[in-house]
């Protein structure tokens, strides 16, 4: 798979179809870090592991390059979904961002609780079966059962917040300027831990229909708050009521942006928004 990716990346650079390739580089002393490859000869240092999300970096790189400059991003399924969402919001120019997708292995899928561990445009590797995050015991303990117990569990976790803004900074879709979390109307300044209902829930709901479950927020959280789990119930609700999944269909608008008349299932005019994944009667 690695050789396939390198081959393809090299070709794209040689044929001048792209000016740079954003991927991981194994450098001096085997240190791995993100890197923009511009010389085909350099490509033999390109590696795929560990998981390191690049979509947001790709956006930042493109923003500072002049118009015709094109970037290839070597990416996993989650990165690709993030790019789809960014394109929908005019945050990246699809013409200038090419993807080179590769599939994750099942160990990675399990570690991420990923239901789609592969990109739709698969250039290397073969897709493995995804994992339903809602079957995970830890996820269930946060999303199922007695609401009060779960509330306490969430409060215990969110009390650990050090307000690093890492969840926002690492999220590939969190690109609003100005950011609601920097608006004093909503979030009190200078206070740690950041407030649960304002800081964390505003962030979560703001991403309710865009979260691609890449797990970047959770991985960037220094204190290990299960932030991706916070999004799962909303992702599940959108899927159930609208058959909508963020990052899959570049042409389909988020149902949250549409009117409720056309979108839901026939015979139902409002979705049964829920705070949990349990089926309501």
């Amino acid at each position: 798979m690695l050789e396939q990716v390198r081959q393809r990346a090299r070709e794209l650079l040689e044929r001048k179809q792209a000016d740079g390739v954003l991927a991981l580089k194994k450098g001096y002393w085997d240190v791995i870090q993100p890197h923009v490859f511009t010389a085909p000869a350099e490509i033999d240092k390109l590696v795929l592991e560990p998981k390191w999300l690049l979509a947001k970096m790709a956006r930042a790189v493109l923003l500072e390059r002049p118009q015709p400059w094109r970037l290839v991003v070597v990416m996993r399924g989650c990165d690709e979904r993030a790019v789809v969402e960014l394109v929908k919001r005019n945050q990246v120019d699809r013409e200038r961002l090419l993807t080179l997708g590769y599939a994750c292995d099942s160990a990675q899928a399990k570690a991420c609780l990923c239901n789609r561990p592969y990109p739709q445009k698969l250039d290397a590797g073969s897709a493995v079966e995804g994992v339903d995050p809602l079957t995970d015991e830890r996820v269930k303990s946060y999303l199922e059962g007695d609401a009060r117990t779960r509330m306490e569990k969430w409060a215990e976790q969110l009390r650990r917040c050090i307000k690093c803004y890492g969840c926002r900074n690492s999220c590939p879709i969190c690109v609003c300027v100005p950011c609601k979390l920097e608006d004093e109307v909503w979030v009190e300044r200078g206070v740690v831990p950041a407030e649960m209902t304002t800081f964390h829930l505003i962030r979560a709901f703001h991403l309710s229909d865009t979260c691609v479950a890449c797990g970047a927020c959770q991985e960037a959280c220094p204190v290990g708050i299960p932030l991706m789990t916070l999004q799962l119930s909303m992702r599940e609700a959108l899927k159930r009521d609208y058959n909508y999944e963020a990052g899959i269909d570049a042409d389909r608008k988020s149902p949250v942006l549409s009117d409720f008349i056309k979108e839901p299932r026939p015979g139902q005019d409002m979705p049964d928004w829920v705070d949990s994944t349990e089926k309501k009667p």
Partner: protein
């Protein structure tokens, strides 16, 4: 033209997180966490995420500045270096070697610190070199050297995740060392118990199983009470004490004087709580004590540290994985600055200046005569400025905000015949300088920092310093050469190989080996993998020594004139004197102006409302700041962050020193609080 991603190390706290700077055309435009760094593994705190923001601040110094009357004039580097060399050596010639002093910097790299102390020692034959560790963890160095033999954190940060009981004493790590809290919470999720000993309900206390809210400065009574209960109950680790330690009988005699009841009375904590916490700590399979400035910044700071070491040794919770004592170092490289001998009584590697054999070794290596007289500490250098000390060279320190009783510091600096300040901004201290040298920040240099877990980590130069500013390494080399020293080091790596040869514990470190994950000293040879925890087979000093902690209550207690306790410290969005963090727009947005925390009952009694301007005064000075009403401080106490130049908490603090380590008592002094009244002024 393409963007570069450069790996480097965060310039803020001692945790030592790995950063990746995105560089566009010579400008650092973004910071990302380094997923491959073993310390932070892909996360950062808010300061780290915005570490690039101050780098290109318009107020960066770009040329050497010479004082002309009451203003500064840009001069060339040749002039600046000549002037500095000439003035410093003239002073030493006229008033004797000990009339010159230097303050090195915990913000600069190991190599720069090594060169700085070598420059002061070799060029002027004095040991008058110190740095801000004096103001924070000197107590640790002194206390732990006596008991364990090494003044560094015994274990690694990642070891916290495996502890079964974690006791925080005087540390608000959730705000001051946020990223390492992740390891603590991993332990909690495994079922570990966490206790916090602090007079304030800090951010870290809110996640603890219990907060022991002791009276300010009563750490020793509390720890003694805990030890007494442990030994009364027979919970002490007899095997460990017999095999690994000495002087236990002395401790037992000392504990006679501290029955739990007395400890409870002195500290204001329930007897039952002291007993319960002591038992949990003693019975835990692996237990860790994390401490910080709340322990060291007292008139009995060194004794506080000793008491902590005694408690850990009593239970055998040191010298193994997942246990140990964690003094959290404040600055990014304060560990390194100490290691490199920027201390008045120690050469690099904690080798005493008064030891003839050691001195002989350094004289031979440096090909010069050296003084055997221990030099003056930070606080003494400032106190004697203009008297015994005539000229001072300050590299990247800001004593006008960081030292206690800054009014006195500012007077002292003005008495100097010659003051050179080397910094990246015109700091409050640089304003008093005769000559200002523009240095480089973390993104502009190559070198190493040593983090709180003794890990040497490599910085990669990402961009050039602005304008004519130079790397501190380069400046030190130029100045060294101008002073007649053989300072022709081609690169910082050569400096490292010099000190690696002089200090057995660093013999195995080299720039090459640090590239991937750094190395934790001791690392005695090229194949040694570094040391995850200290004191494993035996203590660094041989046997662990129980020392009697000498309890002294705070020097200043509230009275009718100054009825409140003042506590000082840091907040999550700012760092120390604010030179960097207050020039970072994102961090400054988070906390924009000075405030003090005051208890609702006290506020009500004084008629103070939230956000109102108040005046806080002590015997030494007075500041105008704003009130933040919260019950996180105890009634009768106020808390002031010390980052703010417009309301410097250190105008108030008491410069009384711990005689053992010369650390000032920042954490306790008496103040009065009143509403600030305005007189209408015509405009």
């Amino acid at each position: 033209m393409k963007p570069e991603f450069i790996r480097t190390i965060c310039p803020y706290c001692g945790t030592g997180c790995g950063l990746i700077l995105k560089v566009e055309e010579g400008r650092a435009t973004a910071t990302y966490p380094d997923r491959e760094n073993p310390v932070n593994r892909g996360s950062l705190c808010v300061k780290g995420w915005f570490a690039h923001e101050f780098v290109h601040h318009p107020e960066r110094l770009t040329a050497p500045l010479l004082r002309k009357g009451d203003r500064f004039e840009a001069i060339s580097w040749e002039e600046a270096i000549d002037l500095a060399a000439q003035k410093l050596s003239e002073t030493a010639g006229e008033y004797g070697p000990d009339s010159v002093g230097g303050l090195s910097s915990a913000k600069c790299t190991n190599e720069e610190n090594y060169l700085f102390q070598k420059l002061i020692r070799a060029a002027f034959k004095t040991n008058n070199v110190d740095h801000c560790a004096r103001l924070c963890h000197a107590a640790t160095t002194v206390g732990m050297l006596q008991t364990l033999g090494s003044g560094a954190m015994t274990n690694s940060i990642s070891d916290l995740a495996g502890a079964d009981c974690i006791v925080f004493v005087g540390s608000n790590a959730a705000e001051t060392h946020p990223v390492l809290m992740g390891e603590v919470y991993k332990a909690l999720d495994r079922g570990a118990k966490m206790f916090v000993i602090d007079p304030r309900e800090t951010a870290v206390a809110r996640n603890a199983h219990r907060l022991l809210r002791l009276n300010p400065g009563t750490d020793i009574p509390l720890l003694a009470g805990m030890m007494r209960h442990i030994s009364d109950k027979g919970l002490h680790n007899v095997g460990f004490i017999e095999k690994r330690t000495e002087n236990f009988e002395n401790l037992k005699t000392f504990l006679e004087a501290w029955p739990v009841e007395k400890a409870a009375k002195e500290t204001g904590i329930d007897e039952s709580v002291i007993r319960a916490v002591a038992e949990t700590y003693a019975k835990a399979k692996n237990a860790a004590i994390v401490y910080c400035m709340g322990i060291t910044q007292h008139a009995c700071g060194a004794a506080n540290v000793i008491a902590i070491c005694d408690l850990a040794m009593l239970c055998g919770h040191v010298g193994k994985h997942f246990s140990g004592i964690y003094p959290l170092r404040g600055q990014n490289n304060v560990q390194g600055a100490c290691d490199m001998g920027a201390l008045p009584d120690l050469y690099p590697g904690y080798q005493g200046v008064s030891d003839p054999a050691v001195r002989e070794k350094f004289q031979k290596a440096w090909k010069t005569d050296l003084s055997d007289k221990p030099g003056l500490t930070v606080t003494e250098l400032i106190n004697t400025a203009g008297k015994d000390i005539r000229a001072l060279y300050i590299m990247a320190e800001n004593p006008c905000l960081s030292d206690p009783d800054v009014n006195h510091v500012m007077e002292a600096l003005q008495r100097l015949d010659f003051l050179v300040v080397q910094d990246i901004f015109l700091t409050e201290t640089a304003r008093f300088a005769h000559l200002v040298l523009p240095g480089a920040c973390f993104a502009e240099k190559t070198g190493t920092y040593t983090n709180t877990e003794r890990r040497f980590q490599l910085l990669h130069k990402a961009i050039d310093p602005p304008g004519a500013a130079k790397g501190d390494f380069e400046i030190l080399c130029l100045l060294g050469k101008a002073l007649g020293l053989a300072f022709d080091y081609p690169s910082p790596a050569d400096v490292m190989s010099e000190y690696a040869h002089l200090v057995p514990a660093y013999a195995g470190v080299s720039f090459d080996r640090l590239e991937r994950v750094g190395l934790q000293w001791p690392c005695p040879d090229e194949n040694h993998p570094g040391t995850r925890f200290l004191h494993g087979e035996k203590f660094t000093r041989g046997l662990g020594r129980f020392v009697i902690p000498d309890y002294r209550p705070p020097a200043e207690k509230p009275d009718s004139e100054y009825p409140y306790y003042l506590n000082t410290g840091r907040v999550f969005a700012h760092y120390h004197t604010g030179t960097m963090s207050r020039r970072s727009p994102f961090l400054n947005r988070e906390i924009e102006w000075a405030y003090v925390e005051i208890h609702p009952a006290d506020a009500a009694a004084l008629g103070i409302r939230e956000g109102e301007r108040i005046r806080v005064s002590s015997r030494r000075g007075s500041i105008v700041t704003t009130a933040k009403i919260t019950d996180r401080v105890a009634k009768g106490s106020i808390f002031a962050p010390f980052h703010f130049t417009e309301a410097r908490a250190n105008r108030l603090t008491n410069p009384v020193l711990d005689p053992a380590c010369k650390t000032p008592e920042y954490k306790v002094c008496a103040v009065s609080v009143e509403k600030e009244r305005y007189e209408a002024t015509a405009r």
